[in-house]
């Protein structure tokens, strides 16, 4: 971005008056810090649909939103190759604010003052694109619980997959394969951290595989390929693959699917 071009800003807030107010304050900043609001969204999902199609320098993101909160929104955005800088905005969210302080993430308090907004925008530009790691730590510190979606950045778009649609997650070399009823996606996350975050929804059947607890239909006796003789494989709803169950995990998973 050249010095004279206006700063391109994207707004995400579920309250329309809050977006209006932000535009007013940005307008007041106009001569000091030329800027233009290139797009806005009333929730995280539509924000992630829209944002990758626009050239954006900074996203101003409300934390407290329905369906997908601002922190989860930013985590999905951070996977995107052309991720903008992010400044969080909140009226009052004690836990999130404490978590931001600890992880050096910038935020603004509503009602937002022009001077404070100007400083935050300058700082965000200097800091560059939002990073994933501090967000993960902040989300954990704020006691946010698991994400509602997993996301994949593909050909300039962000695919959002509701966690409920995922049949299994399988570690393969560098990536994790995520299988839904329709197709497969590649995730750049570690299976161990996914297991930690989604332990309530997924269970480990094998060193390299997590399956959705609710998708387990039953088990089948199979002849193992790796010379360990006969073993069990899990039969799943929504995917034809029969995934082997390790001896070690058999005692943990054998009760699933019968109830």
């Amino acid at each position: 971005m050249s010095a004279s071009a206006p700063l391109r800003i994207f707004l995400v807030d579920d309250e329309q008056p809050a977006r209006e107010r932000m535009k007013e304050v940005l307008g007041d900043l106009g001569h000091e810090l030329p800027n233009v609001v290139v797009g806005e969204a009333a929730n995280g999902e539509s924000g992630l649909m829209l944002l990758p199609t626009l050239p954006v320098d900074v996203a101003l993101v409300d934390i407290n939103m329905p369906q997908m909160n601002g922190i989860e929104f930013a985590r999905h955005l951070a996977n995107f190759e052309r991720a903008p800088a992010v400044v969080f905005v909140t009226a009052h969210d004690q836990y999130a604010i404490e978590a931001f302080e600890v992880n050096a993430i910038d935020y603004l308090l509503k009602p937002v003052r022009a001077a404070r907004l100007s400083a935050a925008l300058a700082k965000a530009l200097a800091g560059g694109a939002i990073k994933c790691e501090p967000l993960e730590r902040a989300a954990a510190a704020a006691g946010q619980g698991p994400r509602r979606f997993l996301s994949v950045s593909e050909r300039g778009r962000i695919h959002l997959l509701p966690v409920a649609d995922i049949v299994y997650l399988k570690a393969e070399l560098k990536y994790v394969t995520m299988r839904t009823a329709e197709r497969e996606f590649l995730l750049e996350e570690s299976l161990a951290s996914l297991e930690q975050e989604f332990g309530a929804t997924f269970v480990r059947v094998h060193r390299s595989c997590l399956v959705a607890r609710g998708r387990v239909r039953g088990f089948e006796r199979v002849v193992d390929g790796d010379g360990e003789g006969a073993g069990w494989a899990v039969v799943l709803d929504g995917a034809a693959d029969k995934l082997p169950v390790s001896r070690r995990q058999w005692s943990v998973v054998k009760g699933l699917g019968s109830g």
Binding site: E15, E20, E24, A42, N43, P66, P111, G143
Partner: protein, 347 residues
């Protein structure tokens, strides 16, 4: 005034003799005392029954007559200084008991029995008065604390800052609406900051709730749908202040804000004979139950209802299909016309 106990205002107050809880406590205490007396005099279980029935012939009429007299004269007694009122009651009960015993004993002419009966009645009345006195004292700090909790629960910063932000967004485009919104906000906080120990009218509480919802409408727009079913609400009914508004605030916070589409809050209030029924319904979002504050507000209101109405008030809450529902039943007590600003406004 109907003699509702207001412990923090008058530490030495008579109990409300029309309250079911108070009546039940008196009945239980007297019957237990009679059973105790009978068991001391009896040698066997058969004799115990006889003695108890025998005592019942005196205790029964005295108990019924005292309770009827007290519930009639309660308001008048409440105007007397506490110790005079207690003495009047104790002496009255003593004479009543002695009189009943005299009527029975005149057949057998036994003056010691009359004095003994009167003495026992005096002692029991004094003990009961002492019990109610202590109970009153015990609840005074609880009421003060409940008030404090109400205050803290009320000023949810999330609501205040978001509302101020929404008002700021109006100032340039629609100054008139901004003015109304700030007036509503001032009114709301005036009620919240007010001393909440006295009862208010349902009319006032409804006005307050409406002002609050106007403010929420400002920022939530079409996402907030409110259905009022209050045509038959008794506007002169006495209710604890901030009974409805905190529950409606919870309904918005837990029921409407977590949804992207429109969420409907239904407020239904009606009178059924001497009871006022309030029902509040909002959409239920199981995945957002970690949002803080709901249990505290409910516990706070339940406590205040118990302090004001004892066992005569009821609060139930639960998930009904896709909705969360709170049902409150309180006794219908009318404010005396002119004594409260809300009643004047309604009249």
């Amino acid at each position: 005034m109907n003699g509702t106990p207001k412990p923090s205002e008058i530490p030495d107050a008579l109990p409300d003799f029309r309250n079911l809880g108070v009546i039940a406590r008196i009945l239980v205490a007297v019957l237990v005392a009679a059973l105790l007396a009978a068991s001391i005099r009896a040698q066997s279980f058969a004799q115990l029954a006889d003695e108890f029935l025998d005592l019942g012939l005196i205790v029964g009429p005295v108990l019924i007559a005292s309770l009827v007299l007290l519930s009639t004269a309660g308001p008048w007694l409440a105007k007397l200084p506490y110790w005079i009122a207690i003495t009047v009651i104790a002496v009255g009960v003593m004479w009543l008991t002695a009189g009943v015993q005299w009527l029975r004993a005149s057949v057998e002419s036994e003056s010691l029995g009359i004095i003994r009966a009167g003495g026992f009645a005096l002692l029991l009345t004094a003990l009961l008065a002492g019990y109610f006195h202590l109970r009153n004292r015990a609840f005074s700090p609880a009421l003060a604390e409940a008030r404090l909790q109400a205050l803290q629960a009320r000023i949810r910063p999330h609501f205040l800052y978001n509302t101020l932000n929404a008002v700021l967004s109006l100032i340039r485009k629609d100054p008139k609406r901004a003015e109304v919104a700030l007036e509503d906000l001032a009114e709301l906080y005036r009620m919240v900051m007010a001393d909440a120990k006295n009862l208010t009218t349902l009319a006032q509480e409804l006005d307050l709730t409406r002002q609050y919802l106007n403010l929420e409408q400002l920022r939530l727009g079409a996402r907030l749908v409110v259905q009022w079913k209050t045509e038959d609400a008794p506007r002169d009914a006495l209710v604890p202040p901030l009974l409805l508004q905190p529950l409606v605030e919870n309904a918005v916070y837990h029921g409407v804000e977590p949804g992207t589409g429109p969420g409907t809050i239904e407020i239904a209030i009606r009178r059924e004979r001497d009871r006022v029924h309030l029902r509040l319904t909002n959409p239920y979002h199981p995945e957002y139950q970690h949002r803080q504050g709901n249990r505290m507000a409910l516990a706070n209101i339940r406590e205040r209802l118990a302090l004001h109405f004892d066992v005569e008030a009821k609060l139930e809450s639960g998930v009904q299909g896709e909705n969360y529902e709170i049902a409150i039943v309180i006794p219908y007590r009318r404010a005396s016309p002119g004594s409260l600003p809300g009643v004047r406004a309604a009249a």
